[in-house]
Structure formats: C-alpha cells, structure tokens
C-alpha cells in the first residue's frame, strides 16, 4: 500500500514536470490549421503541433481541396479554422472578403526570428508570413541529351530543337511533357509562358483583359509546338501524371514544379540510373531574358473571426512550425525562406528561376477568373480545332462574362 502510494506520487510528479514544458510559452488557445497536403506543409504542421498541451490544442486539416472551402470555413463566426496556409493565388479571395487579420502586432511581439522578406505586406500591413518558395522549372535527363548530342536548353526554342533531335535519334517518341491537364494546370502553363513575353495580362489599373495580342499568340504557338512533342494524351497530364512519367523514364525534358524535386530525386519510385541523370535547372525563356515561369510563395495567415487569444496561440504555434529546427530537419522538402536553409540539388531549379528574374504570380483579385477561363478554353487550340486568335478571343469573352458577374467590370 505504501509502495503503491510512492509509485503513484512519483508518476504524478514526473508527468507534472513534463507538462510544464509543453505549450511554447502559451497558456491557452485553440489552433486549427487548414492547408494543402504535401510534405513541406505536413512538416510545418508537425512542428506547430509540438506546442500542444497544457491548455493549448492543435488540430489540422490538410487536403488538396482546401481552396474550395477555405472562404466558407473562414467566413463563419467563429471561423472553423484559425489559420489557412495559402499561396499567392489562394490568399486573394481571403483578402477580398476581409477574412484574414493583419499580423503587424503579432509579428512585433513574437516574430523576432522572421526574415523581412518573409512578411507578405498588402498596403503596408503584414497579412501573411511566407515560409517556402516554389516555381515550375525545367527538368532534363543529362544522359539522353548527351546521347542525342544536344546542349542543356535555356530557351523554349532550344527545348523544341533538342526534343526534335532526341526524337530523330530514335531515343524517345514523346520526350517532352508539361502539366497540360485541362483546367487549372493548363491555365498555369499558359500564364507561365505568357510571362516569358513580358506583356501584362490586363490593361493597366483596370480589370479589362488584354491577352489577345502578338504575345498571346506567341505563347500559344510555343505551347502547341511543345505538345506536339508530347504524348498525345497530354490534356490529361496533371503534376502527378508528369512526375510518374518522369520516374518511369519516359521523358527527357519536362517542366514540373520545384516541390516535386525532392520526391523525384529520392530513392523511391524510380531507378538509380534515372535519378542520377536527372538535372534540375531554371525555367527556359521564351523571347527575351525573362524566364517563362511564375514564382509562388506558401505562407500562413490568421483568420479574422477568432478570438485574439486563439490568434496569438496560432501565430506562436506556426512560428514554431517554421523554426530553424524544422527547416534543418526537412531541408530537402522545400525551398525554405529561412537563413538556415541549405540549397541542394532539389532546389537548384527554383533558385535559378528566381535569380534569373522571374516574376511572382500576379496577386490580383480577378486573376483567378482569367486562370479558369484559360484552363477551360485553350484545349480546342491545342487539339488543332481552333486558331490561336479564336482561342484567345474565347478566353477573353469567358473572362469578361465572369468578371461582370463578379463585379470587377
């Protein structure tokens, strides 16, 4: 009996002792994070979950469908999630509806370790804290290029020439792939290509679209040339399909997301020969010196419709989630915006694209409507049933209808 009491007292004191260290310096708060589902975000949320315990609860919902319900979830009062992990495009609907709060005071209080370029400021107010960068860039197989006798391409014209040589040499029938699945992916490929021309998407200062011009036709023609060197099913290729084709050794040159780098260069899913020959390099240019790609950041935001206590707890937890320890433990999973990040082969492409002067994806409130219109209307041109000018006219008409309905025009 006496021994039992000693054992019980001993256990309680040990438990009480460990509980005192949980909480990241917080005493209470409810943290609920919504975000996309890939390795880097999972690592950040795992780091944030370390703050749980002792009055602080941390939950998360990571899903690829997050952008479809983030607006509805954060409109509720109190909001269903205290934080939404967003990128350049998915922050826009939250900004438009005033669903995320300014982080100026929280950054002043808890954000001493944050770099200035991590703070996303809109009109002078910090609205998000970015922790990683991403971009679509070029992947190529050095062994196949060598066998065909071509140099590493730095412009899309060179990509087409190299692919034609690879095909002529009989090495591969469909050496090229991009993420050209009808919908968001196809829209993104056009936007990236159009960025390479340096032209703007809209008339300055207005929401009127202006892509039916020589730059638009140039971008479309290059996309068509590239798809002619791709597998005929290219309109079903999303980023999972292209990565699978790459790991299966069926591609020689591809444009894929930088965040795929770590999983393509690891020892799973492919052969050592393919992985050893895979080179990640900056996005090619189209006409001129600007890379035909867009830069993306991923960061966290804090909802407006929650208590200040929850907001503070969420901020502290997520700052913990992007702390130096987490970055160092997950170095290869993303291009982290952190001073302790060490660039590796998996990040060479994103770094090169950023260094070459690529622009970020436009954070305009009506860009999403143009993106959807592009993704829906460009398939006909790529299948050869429509001219470039007609396709661009269709895109402009579809965008204008949507913009009028949403109140931008």
């Amino acid at each position: 009996m006496f021994l039992k009491k000693i054992a019980l007292a001993g256990t309680m004191s040990v438990l009480a002792g460990t509980a005192a260290y949980a909480g990241c310096g917080l005493t209470s708060g409810n943290v609920n994070i919504l975000g996309n589902d890939f390795a880097a975000i999972q690592a950040v949320v795992a780091g944030a979950t370390e703050c749980a315990g002792d009055g602080v609860s941390v939950a998360s919902n990571l899903t690829t469908e997050h952008r479809d319900f983030q607006v509805a979830a954060l409109t509720a009062n109190p909001a269903q999630y205290t934080s939404s992990i967003v990128a350049n495009s998915s922050i826009v609907p939250l900004l438009n509806a005033g669903l995320i709060r300014s982080l100026d005071d929280l950054v002043a209080k808890h954000g001493q370790n944050l770099q200035p370029h991590q703070l996303i400021t809109i009109d002078g107010k910090v609205m998000a804290v970015a922790f990683m960068a991403n971009a679509q860039h070029l992947y190529y197989r050095s062994d196949i290029l060598e066998a065909a006798g071509v140099e590493a391409p730095s412009s899309y014209a060179e990509v087409v020439a190299a692919a034609e040589k690879i095909r002529a040499a009989g090495l591969m029938d469909h050496p090229v792939a991009l993420n050209t699945k009808t919908g968001w992916n196809l829209g993104e490929e056009f936007i990236n290509m159009y960025m390479g021309t340096g032209a703007g998407f809209f008339k300055a200062g207005t929401a009127e679209v202006a892509i039916n011009n020589a730059s638009g036709v140039e971008a479309l023609n290059m996309l068509k040339a590239l798809t002619e060197l791709s597998n005929p099913d290219f309109l079903t290729f999303d980023s999972n399909a292209t990565a699978a084709l790459w790991e299966g050794g069926q591609l020689a040159i591809a444009t894929m997301w930088g965040s795929r780098g770590a999983s393509i260069l690891d020892d799973e899913g492919s052969t050592a020969e393919i992985v050893a020959a895979t080179v990640l390099t900056g996005a090619p240019t189209l006409s001129g010196d600007k890379p035909a790609s867009t830069l993306w950041w991923d960061g966290f935001t804090i909802a407006t419709n929650i208590s200040d206590e929850d907001a503070e707890a969420t901020f502290v937890a997520l700052v913990n989630g992007i702390s130096d320890d987490v970055v160092m433990a997950n170095n290869d999973k993303a291009v982290w915006l952190s001073s302790v990040y060490e660039p590796s082969a998996a990040s060479a492409g994103v770094a090169a694209t950023a260094a070459a002067g690529a622009s970020p994806y436009p954070m305009l409130p009506y860009m999403g409507l143009l993106h959807t219109a592009l993704g829906d209307e460009l398939s006909d041109f790529l299948q050869g049933t429509e001219s470039a000018a007609q396709a661009l006219a269709d895109v402009e008409a579809a965008y204008t209808t949507a913009a009028k309905e949403q109140g931008f025009l």
Binding site: P93, G98, T121, D233
Partner: protein, 342 residues
C-alpha cells in the same frame, strides 16, 4: 383514409422535403437572379519574398459595407441565364446572322461552353438510355434460362459494375484504356495502329464514356427486368409455345408487353440520371473532350473565385432540361392511368 390521417401520416416526410429540397431550391433560384456587388478596387503596394510591386486589390472594408446593406448582391433578373456562359442569346444571334452555312453555325454554337456541354449530355442521355434497357433485358433473359446452380454467382457478377463506386470504376478503366494499359495496348494490337489513343481524340473519348455509362447502368435494368420476368404469365407462354412460336416470337409478343411498365420506369430513371452525368468525366479526366451540364456547374464552384450565381443558373437550366425530357414519358403514364381508371 381520411384526409386528416393522411396529412399526419405524410407530415414528417413532407417537412423533410420542404426543408431539404424546396427551400434550397428557392435559395438557388434567388441566387441565380443576382450577381455580385461592384467591387471597389484600389491600387496598393504589395511586398513579398520576391520584392515589392504596385498591384490592384479589393478594398475589403468598402466591399463589406456594400455586402452588409444588400447581402444577396445586385439584382440581375434573367441576365445570368442569357450571358455567354449559359444560353448566350447575343452570341447565338450573332452566329446565326453571320452564318456561312448551317454546319458553320453549329460549329460556332459548339464553341460556346453551355452548348458544348449540352451536346455531350444529350448524346450521352439518348445513346446510353436505350442501350442500357436493351442490354439489361438481354442479360435478364439470359440469366433467367441458366441452371439454378449458376444463377446466384452470375447475378452477383452482373451486379458488380453498378456496385463499384462510379469514380473508382471510371478511374480503374481510365488506367486500363491508357495507351500502355491492358485495354489500350490490346486495341492497338487488334486494330494494328501503334499510335491509337482512346484519350486523345474527342470521338473516341465520347465512345469510351458511352461504353462506361452502359456498363455501369446495365445492372440496374437487368435486376429490374429479372424481377419482372419472374411474374410473366406461364399459361400465356405455354400457349404460345404450343402454337409454335419461336423463342424470339415468345419474347416479342408475350414477355416484352408484360414488361412495358418496367421499361417506362427504367427509362424515366435513366433519363434523369444520365442527364446529370458527371463522375465519368472526372474519372476519365475527359474535360478536354467532353463536358456535361453537371461538370460545368462543378467547374464554377471550384477554384479561387467561386461563382455561385453562374452555378445556380446552370443548375436551374439542368432542372428545366430534365423536366423537358421527362414530359413525353409522363404524358404517356398519365394517359395509361386515365385509361385504366375509366
């Protein structure tokens, strides 16, 4: 049954239908008649990891004030129904005025998203429905003649295509019809065409979707006809056999008239279901070649900017389409009912 008893009896399900069907329908109709408020745009300086730039953004505070005054948005009447994303009345009349030939007009019409979706939806509905009925009847007649020992397992296997979740079934078939999948490669070998791809051409994609549709829905017709076959009047059948009728004549003159009400029933259900075709398009990633009305509703509700008003208008056009399709069947049923009552 007295009226009072009847009302009390159906009150729970009536209440559920009003709350979950009628009221949401009223809400959808209201949404389809409105559009968003004019957004207040301001130029602000936005800074991020890649530098600072001057960009347009929405003045959230001003927009919130507008929304608080009138939460539904601006009243647009039937404007959304006639815009380019729906019935496109202006574009259609321009295409008709400038037409070079009727075919040219049709291809201009096909360029508009609603009519493109409508074309596939109607083709799917009018091809798959009769094929499902015929195939279901054939399978039912075949299974009915099997030895009892084999009937059980055969019925189980015949029902499987309907039991498999549409999305999973179509995804598995999507992988199999790939140029490097088992069905794709076999077709290439059979047709001696090494570059044949079922996913690349619109015609072949439509054919694949129709085949999937028939394969998925035939078990429903089969099981309904199979149940009906058990109630066929054996005296009439025997009389027909004695009179020297062939198997085909027996089926045509005895079995099929007996099963007619079931044919009407299946046709009704299939017309309603096939008009709302959606999962195969997602499962087969066929959006480039085939879109349907349900797919364009789904497309409006996805993405960064969700277009509730446009989706509501397309939904109501779909409901209208189903009502138009069902009218002949309903008139026939009404006439039969009146005849029987008299």
């Amino acid at each position: 049954m007295r009226h009072r008893t009847f009302i009390w009896f159906i009150l729970p399900s009536l209440a559920a239908m009003i709350i979950f069907i009628a009221l949401p329908l009223v809400s959808v109709v209201t949404q389809s008649l409105h559009i968003e408020h004019q957004q207040v745009l301001v130029i602000t300086e936005n800074c991020g990891p890649f530098g600072c730039q001057q960009e347009t953004s929405v003045d959230a505070a001003a927009t919130a004030v507008l929304r608080a005054e009138k939460p539904l948005g601006r009243f647009n009447g039937l404007g959304t129904y006639f815009d380019r994303g729906h019935l496109a009345s202006k574009e259609v009349s321009i295409a008709w005025a400038n037409r070079a030939s009727f075919r040219g007009f049709l291809s201009d019409l096909y360029n508009l998203p609603f009519y493109k979706a409508l074309a596939f939806t109607l083709s799917y509905t009018f091809l798959v429905t009769p094929l499902v009925i015929m195939l279901g009847l054939l399978i039912a007649l075949g299974v009915n003649r099997l030895t009892p020992a084999l009937k059980g397992p055969t019925i189980f296997v015949s029902l499987l295509p309907m039991i498999v979740t549409p999305l999973i079934g179509s995804l598995i078939l999507f992988w199999m019809i790939d140029a490097q999948g088992i069905i794709g490669k076999t077709l290439q070998w059979l047709l001696d065409d090494p570059v044949l791809s079922l996913k690349a051409s619109p015609g072949l994609t439509w054919a694949t979707l129709f085949v999937y549709g028939v394969w998925h829905s035939a078990p429903f017709a089969f099981i309904v006809f199979y149940a009906g076959l058990q109630t066929v009047n054996t005296d009439t059948l025997e009389a027909a056999q004695i009179d020297g009728a062939t198997r085909f004549q027996q089926v045509r003159y005895v079995v099929i008239p007996h099963l007619m009400p079931l044919v009407v029933f299946i046709a009704l259900i299939q017309l309603m279901d096939n008009f709302r075709v959606f999962e195969p398009i997602i499962g087969f990633s066929a959006q480039a070649n085939a879109t349907s009305l349900s797919y364009i509703i789904f497309n409006d509700l996805r993405g960064d900017v969700i277009r509730f008003n446009s989706a509501a208008a397309t939904s109501l056009l779909t409901v209208l389409g189903v009502a138009i399709l069902l009218t002949p069947v309903l008139i026939r049923t009404w006439r039969d009912f009146k005849r029987k009552v008299v």
